[in-house]
């Protein structure tokens, strides 16, 4: 995928370790995301991919290592500072995580109305809500409830909710999992167009080789808690290492 990337690292993870009891999930994981880059992290189920991005956003506490996002040490931030930083980071959950007691409009308004520091007090949120929904092609769903949406629509609305805060970084946790191939392709194209329009940098956790092929500037294979292999899609897909090749069969 051709995108403009700069050499400034926007996210840096160094020697990240995380264990649950005796189960070591991350054992010295490293990652650098440059501005404008799309980095795909692949790994088997239970290999610690989701744990890694949850540590990155501060949802999980790492045991050791360092995480720097836009020059800020995430592990040392106070709650308020972390919340401010989070407005610059969008997170697309695997299950969409729409607030099911709220309509689509309320889902989008929810973060917007609470970030008065970044956006000021917004009297009429409709133009911003409609703009975000237009970007994902779902203006007509504005007054529907999440239970009335299909899986693909939910994923789009979740993406719109992420975009409404105008983030600089988007973290995608398995964005195409559970979707049919056509909807998956639509979501991948949407991710591409969002990257172009919003000039975001992204980390994409996925098992989907087609998604990686289309979107990745760089890839990391996470095996046994470490970066087992790194490179472009082409480099990794042509690798003779059986552990790497297994992902591309």
């Amino acid at each position: 995928m051709m995108t403009t990337t700069s050499n400034t690292p926007i996210i840096e993870i160094r020697n990240l370790k995380k264990s649950y009891g005796s189960n070591c999930v991350l054992d010295g994981f490293n990652l650098t995301l440059k501005e404008g880059e799309n980095l795909v992290v692949m790994g088997k189920s239970g290999s610690g991919k989701s744990v890694m991005i949850k540590c990155l956003i501060g949802l999980e506490q790492a045991d050791s290592g360092s995480i720097t996002v836009m020059g800020k040490d995430v592990m040392a931030l106070e709650k308020d500072e972390l919340d401010d930083l989070r407005t610059e980071i969008g997170f697309l959950f695997q299950g969409s995580a729409l607030y099911d007691s709220m309509s689509v409009r309320e889902n989008l308004e929810f973060p917007l109305r609470r970030h008065t520091k970044k956006f000021g007090i917004i009297e009429d949120t409709t133009p911003l809500v409609m703009e975000a929904l237009k970007n994902v092609g779902l203006e007509s769903a504005v007054d529907l409830m999440p239970s009335e949406l299909s899986g693909g629509m939910k994923r789009r609305v979740a993406l719109a909710r992420t975009l409404i805060l105008k983030p600089k970084i988007i973290l995608y946790d398995e964005p195409t999992t559970g979707l049919d191939p056509i909807t998956s392709k639509e979501i991948i194209l949407l991710m591409q167009s969002i990257q172009k329009e919003y000039k975001t940098s992204s980390i994409i956790i996925t098992h989907d080789v087609d998604c990686a092929r289309v979107i990745a500037n760089k890839m990391i294979l996470l095996v046994d808690g470490i970066n087992y292999a790194e490179g472009t899609f082409k480099e990794l897909s042509e690798s003779k290492d059986p552990k790497v090749a297994a992902f591309f069969k």
């Binding site: 995580a97 970030h115 805060l165």
Partner: protein
């Protein structure tokens, strides 16, 4: 594992849970006065918990008043003390039966509802989604719910008490031909300020306990969908236990201040 070590582990887990619940309550008070105040959500929760519980509390209160009167009547009749019925019923209902029964019903309806709702939000990552968007899910979900139960329960208790007294009046009217005015004159003559105030104050604590335990169990729900059921179930069990403990303490304190 020996029986002793099992007991000691369970006791340790119990103490940890008490500690976590206290910390959770501390967070509630810390967040209570922080902006934004989420007034719209608070009103929505008050409506859900208060208005939507009226029928259940009303029907239960009515039956309690009715049955209480029917069951007590023969005994009082034996001693020729049926005229004491309104006084006895009103004091029992206002001081004890009304608050505790209404609270237990609300623990079942509201406490389990909160536990299940927040639990399912936790397992479907909705709470995490609020967190990563830089908003404060504790303030929006927990503070509003605890505040709503604390404010609504005393009102529900008063409503339940009134309906229960009306239920008792119906029996008195049908069986003893007692008029509405006579019955309620006797009720208000028997009741003192020291009956109503402690009962109302303890209802605030009951409401707080229902909201606190329901939110705590739901907010920290684990183990997928099975955890949601467990959260709802344990919210009711723990709250019911806590209600009786609070009741015991409240009666004890009331006794010291008003009756000694």
């Amino acid at each position: 594992m020996s029986a002793f070590s099992k007991i000691s582990r369970n006791f340790e887990a119990f103490l940890i849970e008490i500690g976590e619940l206290s910390y959770f309550a501390g967070n509630f008070f810390k967040e209570l006065f922080k902006t934004p105040f989420e007034g719209k959500e608070l009103l929505r929760q008050c409506y859900n918990m208060g208005n939507r519980s009226l029928l259940l509390v009303g029907v239960t209160g009515f039956i309690i008043g009715l049955v209480f009167d029917l069951q007590s009547r023969p005994t009082l009749q034996e001693f020729g003390a049926v005229s004491w019925m309104p006084s006895m019923i009103s004091i029992s209902i206002i001081r004890e039966i009304g608050p505790i029964i209404t609270s237990l019903i609300c623990a079942g309806r509201i406490g389990s509802g909160i536990g299940a709702e927040l639990g399912s939000m936790r397992v479907t990552e909705q709470i995490d989604a609020m967190d990563v968007s830089g908003t404060n899910p504790f303030k929006y979900l927990v503070v509003t719910r605890i505040l709503a139960t604390t404010l609504m329960l005393p009102l529900l208790v008063l409503f339940g008490d009134a309906i229960a007294l009306y239920g008792s009046f119906l029996v008195e009217n049908l069986k003893g031909n007692v008029s509405f005015q006579l019955y309620f004159n006797q009720v208000f003559e028997a009741l003192k300020f020291s009956d109503l105030v402690p009962a109302t104050i303890k209802s605030f604590f009951f409401g707080f306990a229902i909201g606190l335990v329901g939110c705590y169990k739901g907010y920290y729900c684990k183990k997928g969908t099975a955890g949601v059921g467990l959260a709802a179930n344990s919210a009711v069990v723990y709250t019911s236990m806590l209600l009786f403990i609070i009741d015991f303490v409240a009666v004890f304190v009331t006794d010291i201040f008003y009756h000694e």
